[in-house]
Symmetry: C4
Amino acid sequence: MENSQKETARIEAFSDGVFAIAITLLALELPFPHIEHIKGNAVLTKAFFDNWPAYLAFVLSFLSILIMWINHHALFNHIHKTSSGIMFANGFMLLLVAAVPYPTSLIAEYFNTPAENSAVAVYAGLFILINVAYNWLWYTASRKKQYLKPDVTPGTIHTIRKIYLLGFPPYVLSFVVAFFSAGLSLAICTLLWIYWAVVIRKYNH
Amino acid sequence: MENSQKETARIEAFSDGVFAIAITLLALELPFPHIEHIKGNAVLTKAFFDNWPAYLAFVLSFLSILIMWINHHALFNHIHKTSSGIMFANGFMLLLVAAVPYPTSLIAEYFNTPAENSAVAVYAGLFILINVAYNWLWYTASRKKQYLKPDVTPGTIHTIRKIYLLGFPPYVLSFVVAFFSAGLSLAICTLLWIYWAVVIRKYNH
Amino acid sequence: MENSQKETARIEAFSDGVFAIAITLLALELPFPHIEHIKGNAVLTKAFFDNWPAYLAFVLSFLSILIMWINHHALFNHIHKTSSGIMFANGFMLLLVAAVPYPTSLIAEYFNTPAENSAVAVYAGLFILINVAYNWLWYTASRKKQYLKPDVTPGTIHTIRKIYLLGFPPYVLSFVVAFFSAGLSLAICTLLWIYWAVVIRKYNH
Amino acid sequence: MENSQKETARIEAFSDGVFAIAITLLALELPFPHIEHIKGNAVLTKAFFDNWPAYLAFVLSFLSILIMWINHHALFNHIHKTSSGIMFANGFMLLLVAAVPYPTSLIAEYFNTPAENSAVAVYAGLFILINVAYNWLWYTASRKKQYLKPDVTPGTIHTIRKIYLLGFPPYVLSFVVAFFSAGLSLAICTLLWIYWAVVIRKYNH
């Protein structure tokens, strides 16, 4: 029992590392405003502000990874013991977390251009997969009583399961909407971020 | 109570990760001196030394993140328990820490060129936001007694609050000065770094 | 004795850091689909899907580093005390782990082109070295009784040694096959990933 | 007293993070062999092997950071309590560790070209500074008895001081030699790496 708690500590520390690195790497993808040196402040200032979709994408993705990290800890607060199934579900989730900087840079480059719908669709598509990963992780962990801490009630298990399932349809909606309006699709993603920040209070302690 | 202490440990470890990654990534932004291979040592040596604004920016940003990290620990030494408010204020601060390499590379590229004022203004502007984040974090944490450790006196609360508020006007000054003299603006930032290194002794233990 | 346990904790934490960073950096190597902004969604979507070898390489390398991390922990669960030999064997392994993103980006760029055989051969060659590193690490650690925890039986030592030795020939095979069929070579690497995921249960607890 | 031990744990964890990130980032600087896709395996294989100075630089820098990390731990095993002076000396050292990937990529690009002397001189110059940082760190920590653990004898203090001072002249030599023979200069750096790996046994436990 002591051993399995240590194992949870390790998987959490490793996951924290991936979260911390992915969230910090986001800034590396900010496109650098290249201008000729001879051109002065006005040109650089304009180039800097023309990058606004990149800053928007950076902030949105940063907040998304942050809330995913908070959610991850809230889930693992209920998990007592790891299993192969939990490790693979968690590994799949980390793979998706590590991938977030990629569609973020797609939005940074193509938002507000004729190719913005594809870029936002890839972004929303990744978040559908992330939602699937969270559903899978909690489903695997809550399937057997021995994986959970003794004080986790069936009510809590059910509440968390419902919260994650309810997140699935809006992400699909945001994916579909992306093909018609890139801006509206990102707005749905932002609203969902607020959803996670609110519901987390229901099962975090 | 034991649980909330663990929660502080996690938020600190995650923040430490972001600080450590952001500070190390700074070196990735150092511009590489590209010369034709056939050209010899003299050309490469010149190209290397022509990069001096980049090394200056690297050292300044490295020291800034280092002192921010020391400050962060000094603050959390007084915090006993996290809340949603503290987590969001801390998240906002980490977002800004992760962003430091970006204006640093602006300075590396445009300092000593006609566009240097814009570049340094962006840099100083980020540090205004960082100062706001620290004020916000401490304001949120010190608002309720239950968030702080029992031995934190109203005097300490007030001292820290004053220290952070006093940092705000000089950063605004450094931002305004940037439009007239990029060098003077950076000098103010450096002096402020010394300010933080000195005042930290007042509330760190 | 307490001191040496602390030393194991440190080498494990440092190794975890390298694993977490290497696994997250993989995403940085994903090639960005550059198209002219004026070209619309269809062109970007095509460019995105044309990158499929990069996504395949990303997923395969991510899973490889993940299973290597799980293996690393399973090994260190049996190690009680570090020595210079263990630290050098472990350092050699970390060097190879840190190098994984490099051949991964070779595959991302050259798979499905006339240069795919060389790219996959480099990839498979790295995994031969990684297998050698694991064999070396376990050989060094299991050579003296005092390095292992008291409950490690000669049977366990032998089982682990056999498991790692058995991995060597298929990696060599995958290297040789790479020169004839890049796809088949990657398929062997994938099958080996499943091999490690299965055998790990034999000595992980 | 318990508090100051915690402070040592934090500075060590933060330093470990910087070491782990810097050592893993080295691989990011490996130059990618760009060839036209239509050209086949022979051209890619040649381009891959033509990168040999980059692999050499990667391995040498990886081993250097690794031995520096081992040294760092060996030093902190003797330190009981941090002070402002220790934190600044340590911060200076971390700045230099974070900078290692930069001259490494200079060597990767310019070794075996007419500009190799400058590139290796920058590399050797950084290691002179790193040696200074270690001397400074140990001098600051060993100056007052209260910073060290009670079991550290004056003999140990003196031995460590001598070991670090003895490292200074050969690094200066390697810097001077760089201007005449880049290869010989790197060979001295490699020999010094072996020196550190051997002497570490004298004060590590």
